[in-house]
């Protein structure tokens, strides 16, 4: 076990805020912040009712950001996401009505329930940072952070995200069920008031943007870059893997590592960051062969294998 590192004080405040609402999910909170600071997006793969919405709302409220929620359904249209231009008879022209995507923090709930057309509208917005409605490109607000969820259990009437689109999420997280003690704690917390109402912003959006800028300045040594590439390369030559991690994966891992190092108050990335983040940053970018799946292997197992097989750089 690596030694526990202190968090950056401002980040610690955010995490503490989230912890007031969500019990025992510090790790998920930190990882969400990693994605937020690295200007990436998160795919939460979880069963309903474990607190995904609360997490995002707490995060949004902590940084005093605009929170939007899109509930994806099969009949949702792209324009329901991006917004539409409606003719204003008084002004005698089309007027743009922003969609729910025009927020700082967007919860895209059950993203795999909607049609690929709608999905790609969202994903394009995530990637490009702007939306095009009726030929007009409109920038999305800054910061822009999407937390998409999907239910790993139900596949009936869903449109699983294609690999190319999964690749666009920086991290894939899972909250999982709370432990019995934690669950008791949840019950007693919500007994009288909803804690989400109780928390206050601890950071402004401008401060967050500044932090995002600082993250990019975190130093990644050559040996670390080589280490990232070594790990990623192993996914491409692994016998159980059908499709390995793309260079975008390497990039994601590095960006996340920068944010993670920053969160911990370091101005440089260490191999521990890489090892910690690799399962979250890489496992959704790997497609296993069906034999491997039948053997009970998961993408996380493969990532763990990759890490174990890669020697850590201990010299410059």
């Amino acid at each position: 076990m690596a030694a526990k590192e202190m968090l950056q004080p401002s980040i610690e405040q955010v995490v503490e805020n989230i912890e007031k609402v969500i019990v025992g999910k510090r790790n998920v909170a930190i990882l969400s912040l990693v994605a937020l600071l690295a200007k990436g997006h998160v795919l939460l793969e979880d069963v309903p009712g474990v607190g995904k919405t609360m997490l995002v709302r707490a995060l949004a409220k902590s940084i005093n950001a605009q929170f939007k929620r899109i509930q994806f359904t099969p009949d949702l249209l792209p324009s329901d996401v991006t917004g539409v231009s409606i003719y204003n008879p008084r002004e005698m022209q089309f007027e743009y009505k922003p969609g729910p995507i025009m927020g700082n923090i967007v919860l895209a709930d059950e993203i795999n329930r909607t049609s690929p057309k709608t999905q790609s509208a969202l994903l394009e917005a995530m990637e490009e940072g702007n939306v095009t409605v009726d030929g007009t490109t409109r920038p999305l607000p800054r910061p822009f952070f999407v937390m998409a969820t999907q239910n790993p259990i139900e596949y009936e009437g869903t449109y699983p995200l294609p690999e190319a689109q999964l690749d666009r999420f920086l991290l894939k997280l899972s909250m999982g069920y709370p432990s019995p003690d934690e669950e008791v704690e949840i019950l007693s917390r919500v007994e009288k008031v909803q804690p989400i109402e109780e928390i206050h912003p601890v950071m402004t959006v401008d401060e967050l943007l500044e932090l995002q800028q600082k993250v990019t300045e975190v130093y990644v040594g050559d040996s670390i870059k080589r280490y990232i590439v070594d790990i990623v390369q192993r996914s491409r030559s692994n016998a159980s893997v059908y499709l390995g991690v793309s260079p975008r994966g390497s990039l994601a891992l590095m960006k996340a590592a920068q944010a993670y190092a920053f969160i911990h108050g370091r101005e440089f990335v260490i191999p521990d960051d890489i090892q910690f983040l690799a399962p979250y940053a890489l496992s959704h970018r790997i497609i296993l062969k069906s034999e491997a799946k039948l053997n009970g292997l998961s993408a996380e197992d493969i990532v763990r294998q990759m890490i174990v097989r890669t020697p850590v750089p201990i010299q410059r």
């Binding site: 076990m1 040996s223 670390i224 260490i270 090892q275 174990v308 020697p311 010299q315």
Partner: protein, 724 residues
């Protein structure tokens, strides 16, 4: 795979336990009149085989019983196997009474063998329980070593091979059982492969070094005579302190303390088929200590090949000689030859190498390696000399300084009256021969008597020769010959003391050859005197003995020719190394020592020593690396250049030391994880602190100043921890 290894180790343990027991049986044939030891060995092997395969109890008893009955039947009864039990029962009941008395010698051979089988059965079971089941060996092993060494010292049994085997297999076995015991306690124990490596290399190294390193001659006098005399002491102490030592007549090796009575012993030593009577030499001694004789300390050996002419000049070529062959049949086991003066060739059936100790002219019989090899019979070719009295008289005084120095050695505290007596005896004698003759004859008159029982041992302040010449005047060959040598030496005549046997008793004549029987009673000592231009000439001062060599009055024609002085026989015999060693051109003592060292250490030995040394260093490096950290600390203590590179080097060496210490870092472990592991082990936080500093130095761009002093303190603390 695993079970295969398990079975292999099990077999190894059973085999080694069996071997150790057999090691006890091996000497029996030599030290007792036991015959057919291999049958007993077979029984032990059978016992261990049965323990290994664990048949039902009744079956193993049955098999062993059949084996015993078969063996006894083969040896004694020669009847049907089924009658054997009744025979044994009969004998047991007949001899039952004996078993409970002290007359054990009266037991019949068959019953004794039967009882021995029983004993072996018991011992095999006990050693099986002890070594294989309990996995304890040390006590038994020490007993075995003592057993072998005692037998080697006090009996004819040669334990050379046994000792080597005991070291090689014994140590291996000890350590194998140790690791097996450990494994029993904690089955998950690791590092077995490394244990094998370490164990085998250490045992191999010990055996190699032991085998190839030069062996010193015994540093103590042979303990046997000492122990015997000590054991004999209580009865005789009150009677006569002089009779402390009772010797058995016969050939012994240790002459450093002469004197004391003899007990006659007519055991036949060998028979010789020969034409002439002459003395049989064994060795010469040339350092008189005042109490007895010791030999010139030298390791010089000359190797003589079987059935090849011996290039050793006994006399000057001018001497009249006759070539004669003789054959020897040994009745007792000796590892040296008995040979006549003038030996030219030895021939034996065995593949034997003769090694002559140049200091004593004793010739050992060995095999191709260094093991001694007793010969039962061999043929000799030798030159029988005829000494011309005229030539001897004409011989000039010996001029060879080196020879003179060596063979006129006398102790400093030799009483003056011995010298005076020698002068008195030889008063008026001109030539060396006449002087020698006068001394030899002196003993025949003047009241000297041959005596074997009432012979004094010189006291602490007495000189052996002085005591005999002036006080006791009674003694045997040793007294006479030693006295003569000492007196001659006091006159400056080179003389030496020779041991061996007289020509023995003539048993029969067979086609021109006489057959002599030589017993222990024929053991003898006499004198050899060096005459320049002739060589060593034997003389016989002992009362009642006659010099067997022929001295003729008329001079042979060739004899008068002067001999080339530059090649006197003795000179040609001096080994090259000694010439070098004593040559005056080497001024300092150091170079002499170096030369002697080089002479003693041949290139082969040096190569082996170097190999052993490097092997030792390598093993030490591999196993004793825990001392290395101090070296590392010193290495970094005085480094002037400070900076990232130094820190990196120091940190990496710390990692290596931690690895040696046993805290292994897996390649995928990050430094931080490893540091936490190390800190957890040492109960500190230093490794984490140091690692965080190191992380800065390697994962950040350069030009990162590092507080070397802080780093060094942490680093030294950690590295010191790896020492303990």
């Amino acid at each position: 795979m695993k079970t295969m290894r398990y079975i292999a180790i099990k077999m190894l343990i059973y085999g080694l336990a069996c071997w150790l027991l057999i090691e006890w049986l091996m000497p029996l044939e030599t030290i007792s009149d036991t015959e057919g030891v291999e049958v007993f060995i077979g029984f032990v092997v059978l016992c261990f085989l049965l323990y290994f395969f664990r048949p039902p109890f009744w079956l193993s008893v049955f098999v062993k019983s059949i084996y015993i009955l078969w063996a006894l039947n083969q040896w004694f009864y020669h009847a049907s196997l089924f009658t054997a039990p009744t025979r044994i029962w009969q004998e047991t009941s007949d001899h039952a009474a004996i078993l409970f008395t002290t007359r054990l010698m009266e037991l019949s051979n068959s019953l004794r063998s039967f009882l021995f089988f029983g004993l072996l059965w018991l011992v095999a079971y006990v050693s099986y329980r002890w070594m294989v089941v309990r996995k304890r060996l040390f006590f038994f092993y020490v007993l075995t070593v003592i057993y072998v060494t005692v037998l080697d010292t006090f009996t004819l049994f040669r334990g050379n091979g046994a000792i080597v085997r005991l070291v090689a297999f014994g140590f291996f076995f000890l350590s194998l059982l140790h690791i097996e015991r450990l494994r029993e306690q904690s089955p998950a124990i690791g590092g077995i492969r490394r244990w094998w490596g370490a164990c085998l290399s250490f045992v191999g190294l010990a055996v190699l070094v032991g085998y190839f390193s030069p062996k010193l001659p015994p540093q103590w006098p042979d303990p046997v005579s000492f122990v015997k005399s000590y054991a004999a002491a209580p009865e005789e102490k009150q009677i006569d302190p002089a009779a402390l030592k009772v010797k058995k007549v016969g050939y012994g090796q240790n002459d450093s303390r002469l004197g004391g009575p003899f007990i006659a012993d007519d055991t036949v030593v060998f028979t010789a088929e020969d034409e002439r009577r002459h003395y049989w030499r064994v060795e010469t001694k040339d350092i008189y200590t005042g109490k007895g004789w010791t030999s010139f300390q030298s390791e010089q050996m000359r190797t003589l090949e079987n059935d090849m002419d011996i290039d050793y000049s006994w006399w000057s070529p001018a001497l009249k000689k006759k070539q004669i062959t003789a054959s020897i049949h040994m009745k007792k086991t000796y590892f040296h030859l008995v040979y006549p003066l003038g030996l030219k060739k030895v021939k034996a059936q065995e593949d034997v190498v003769y090694r002559m100790e140049t200091a004593t002219e004793k010739i050992y019989t060995t095999d191709r390696s260094v093991y001694t090899l007793p010969l039962t019979s061999y043929d000799l070719v030798y030159e029988y000399p005829t000494f011309s009295i005229d030539a001897l008289k004409a011989a000039p005084p010996v001029g060879d300084k080196e020879l003179l120095e060596r063979y006129t050695q006398l102790p400093e505290n030799l009483p003056k009256r011995v010298r005076d007596l020698a002068k008195q005896i030889t008063n008026g004698k001109q030539t060396q021969y006449e002087q020698v003759k006068a001394v030899e004859q002196y003993f025949h008159a003047n009241g000297y008597t041959y005596e074997t029982t009432d012979v004094a041992v010189p006291g602490k302040k007495d000189d052996y020769v002085d005591q005999f010449l002036f006080e006791t005047k009674r003694g045997y060959c040793d007294n006479f010959s030693t006295s003569m040598v000492v007196m001659l030496r006091s006159l400056g005549i080179p003389a030496r003391w020779v041991k061996g046997y007289t020509s023995g008793r003539l048993m029969e004549e067979k086609d021109g050859k006489n057959i002599y029987e030589i017993t222990n009673n024929d053991a003898h000592s006499w004198v050899e005197v060096y005459f320049s231009g002739i060589g060593w000439v034997p003389f016989e001062p002992t009362q009642g003995f006659v010099n067997p060599y022929v001295f003729t009055a008329s001079s042979p024609d060739s004899e008068t020719a002067p001999l080339p002085e530059q090649r006197t026989p003795e000179q040609s015999r001096v080994p090259l190394e000694r010439v070098r060693e004593q040559s005056p051109s080497l001024p300092s003592q150091d170079s002499g020592i170096l030369d002697r060292f080089l002479a003693a250490w041949s290139w082969k030995r040096i190569a082996i020593a170097l190999a052993a040394f490097f092997a030792f260093v390598w093993t030490a490096y591999k196993t004793r690396r825990k001392w290395w950290p101090y070296v590392t600390i010193l290495r970094f203590q005085y480094k002037r250049k400070r900076g990232d590179n130094l820190f990196a080097a120091a940190y990496l060496s710390l990692l290596r030391h931690l690895d040696d210490y046993g805290l292994k870092r897996k390649p995928h472990q990050t430094l931080r994880q490893y540091a936490a592991y190390v800190d957890d082990w040492f109960k500190t936080k230093e490794m984490t602190r140091l690692t965080m500093l190191y992380e800065k130095s390697i994962y950040l761009p350069k030009n990162n100043p590092i507080d070397w002093d802080e780093v060094r303190e942490l680093w030294e603390n950690l590295i010191k921890k790896t020492v303990s």
